[in-house]
């Protein structure tokens, strides 16, 4: 009798655990995943888990790069949009934004970023201050917008193929830190991902 009860409880636990598999398509209609996790709608494209892995890797690489780690004072980094040479349309800012926040979080004030993408608004605000329409103009003496010590940018390239046996995509993610005064690439790193898959037979 004891064995039967144990067996019964064991089976009940096993069923309960099986039912809560969050990656199951037959599970709950909405499932919250960690961004680094591969979900059940994963495809061949650039996905959140790639973003997390790559941005963390690049942030670590940049922090350890000699021009950053040995810089005097806080080097100013400007983010330039990524050149997308793949077959996947992407939000080009999302990688650099993710790297920036990872660096800001981990660099403990070692790096300073400038918000060039908001330049129009910043210029407008500065002009309002200087003209006296808003307060704070007295603090502005000369141009205070910072120039870049380094430019962080990247290029994504891909090799894509599709045939009767499925589709395959190799994406090479490269990032560079460039000294704008010399055009030297002072740091560079890459990450590569290859994915392959096959559509259901009804769509092939």
């Amino acid at each position: 009798m004891k064995h039967i009860t144990t067996l019964f409880i064991g089976i009940a636990l096993w069923v309960a655990v099986g039912c809560t598999n969050i990656n199951s398509q037959h599970g709950p209609s909405v499932t919250e995943l960690r961004p680094g996790e591969r979900g059940f709608v994963a495809g061949l494209g650039i996905e959140s888990q790639d973003l997390v892995t790559i941005s963390e890797k690049m942030a670590r690489g940049i922090l350890g790069a000699e021009p950053i780690s040995n810089a005097e004072g806080k080097p100013v980094v400007v983010l330039e949009p990524i050149n997308n040479d793949t077959r996947f349309p992407i939000d080009k800012d999302i990688f650099l934004t993710r790297i920036r926040v990872a660096l800001s979080k981990n660099a403990a004030g070692k790096i300073s970023f400038v918000a060039r993408e908001h330049m129009d608004k910043l210029e407008k605000e500065r002009d309002l201050k200087i003209s006296g329409q808003v307060t704070g103009g007295e603090k502005i003496t000369g141009n205070k917008f910072k120039g870049a010590d380094f430019i962080l940018t990247g290029t994504f390239k891909a090799i894509s193929s599709r045939g009767a046996s499925g589709a395959s995509d190799y994406v090479l993610y490269t990032f560079q830190l460039i000294d704008p005064d010399t055009s030297d690439i002072v740091w560079e790193d890459f990450h590569e991902i290859k994915k392959q898959g096959k559509d259901d037979v009804t769509y092939r």
Partner: protein, 381 residues
Amino acid sequence: MKIATSILLLCALLFAACQAPTIQRAPEFNGDLVAAGHRKIAQAPAHDKNRWRLITAIHALNLGQHDEARTLLTTAMPSAGQILQSDARTRLAQSLFSPENVKGFHGESHERAMGWFYRGMFYWMDGEPDNARACFRTAQLMDALAAQPKHRADWVLLDYLDGYITTKLGRGGGDALTRAQANAGTTALPDYNSKANVMVFLQFGFGPMKKTGGDVGEKIVYDGGHSQARAARITVGGRTLIAPAFDNLTFQASTRGNRAMDAILAKKAGIKKTGDLVGDIGVTAGAILASEPKTEGAGVALLGAGLAGKIIGGSTEPRADTRTWTNLPQHLSFAALQLPTGTHTAVIEFLDANGIALPDRQKNVSVTVQTGRDTVLFVSD
């Protein structure tokens, strides 16, 4: 025993009557194609909504409602690289007793390519040419499964635009132009002008329509599209240029070749035809034998077997999915211009096969050229 025979014959008649087509009422229409499209999207079953989204997107695009068209296309299409996975509907489409059109609509390769083509155009409109190029590359990849190697990834305009954007971004787009020219045949493609700042996407005519072929509708056959226009003449700022037709959608649709699904449908068709044949022979021979007292028993058995064959044959659904993105064009064309900043009026005429402007097709389009970004126009005949 005669009663049993009568019941069996009545059943056979009933099954035949069950196959009468259902009558569908014409949709309500008040002149607003986009609103009518949204009604159709709302009314359509879940597995067919995307087709109506795509159709409505092109109505919106033709009416200049670009945000609406962009949203509908994005909603209707899977992301680039998404694997179209098996689900209950795709399994049903493969089952013996369901036609193919119960699966979610994603279109055939030429329709998928067109979806990415339009999305690429929108990215370019939004000032993201490299994302536009990504879409054109994905579109070209949709055609990579054509049966004949010479027809694989052979859209002229997609390669041409890939190379154009690459050239404009300061890199060499020559390889893509060479591929495009190789597929264009005798049509001479214009050279790239890296300083061009106005991109004109043109389309003419009515695209191909799917219909069923084969003995029992198990194949997709394309009714060719039609277009009187074969080229466009653009006059702006004192300059005139001819935009040739780059691609023919009927050609792209009909050179796809067999799909993997066709083998499944062929198997279903074989079962249906065998069932029908067994049914015809069984019912006829069984009825004759059953009418004679000496062979009545054998006749009824044969009649039963024939009826079973009829039931299987009648219930098997080998019909191919002929749902079509119905408002695609027959031809795609493109022209790039270099214009000074400001507002211009472009006169666009559509030319027939003899190069004569078609009457009542002329369009005057206002072009606003901005500094630092390309202006992208879409014009349909």
